[in-house]
Subunit: 122 residues, 2 copies
DNA sequence: GGTTGACTTTGAGTGGGCTCGAACTGGAAG
DNA sequence: CTTCCAGTTCGAGCCCACTCAAAGTCAACC
């Protein structure tokens, strides 16, 4: 039912170090412990971590993730604020995709040019 | 015709610090100097820097950019190698875009859910 | 000809995000 | 029981990509 820190790390694609560090940094609320004081991750904990990894890899700074986590802990009264954070972040991600697509064009152009130059040299 | 370091920085969207650092790191070959030893950037220098900024913001590590710069300095014999670097990088950028688009879906879903929850609370 | 201000170099410092070493603890297998 | 392994905490260390402070130089303007 619950998982150890290393199982959780495996599942979400982070290291055990990072999992503990996320907790310490307040990105995750204190995880439940077994009788020996070892962390036990529930599916809910995992879901939350997976969401964090999405935010993280879309470029959200840890500082903003912490702010979001704090809001989430405060309950329903912060729903609108959290939605706004996501909307703002969605805009950034969209811009980022657009930027990458522009850069992709440059890469394609360069590849084409290199290809032609190689031909000419033969 | 040529530009000072601060003009070049302005044009390419980097700081003067970063421009000098890129040169020091071998991402840019030594820039020409005026009689007083001050850097003078040509349009070619700018074009190269602009390409570097594209590579950089698509996530290419400085270490790889340096390798690419070294190949470029070696001349036409490295055309194929450079093309391969770009092709590999293009693949990474494409994957990155795909990943971001997946994450965007999650964001959209979350925004929707938050919206609905807000409605229900009123 | 003095002041200003943008340049020069060198080496040190910063911030973000982990990553790890050390010392310890507790439960399970032989 | 003892050995082993996966945990624990704490603080330190690391890597990357800049960023800046200090001390000096030089051309341009008043």
């Amino acid at each position: 039912m619950t998982m150890t820190v290393s199982e959780a790390a495996e599942q979400v694609g982070l290291t055990t170090y990072t999992l503990r560090w996320y907790e310490q940094e307040g990105l995750v609320e204190p995880v439940g412990r077994d009788s020996a004081g070892r962390r036990r991750y529930t599916q809910q904990d995992l879901d939350w971590l997976i969401l964090l990894t999405r935010l993280r890899r879309t470029g959200m700074p840890v500082r903003d993730m912490r702010q979001y986590a704090e809001l989430a802990r405060e309950g329903d009264s912060t729903l609108a604020a959290r939605r706004q954070i996501f909307e703002a972040h969605r805009d950034r991600v969209r811009s980022r995709i657009a930027e990458l697509e522009e850069d992709l064009k440059v890469l394609n152009y360069k590849i084409e040019v290199y290809g032609k130059m190689e031909q000419e040299l033969c």
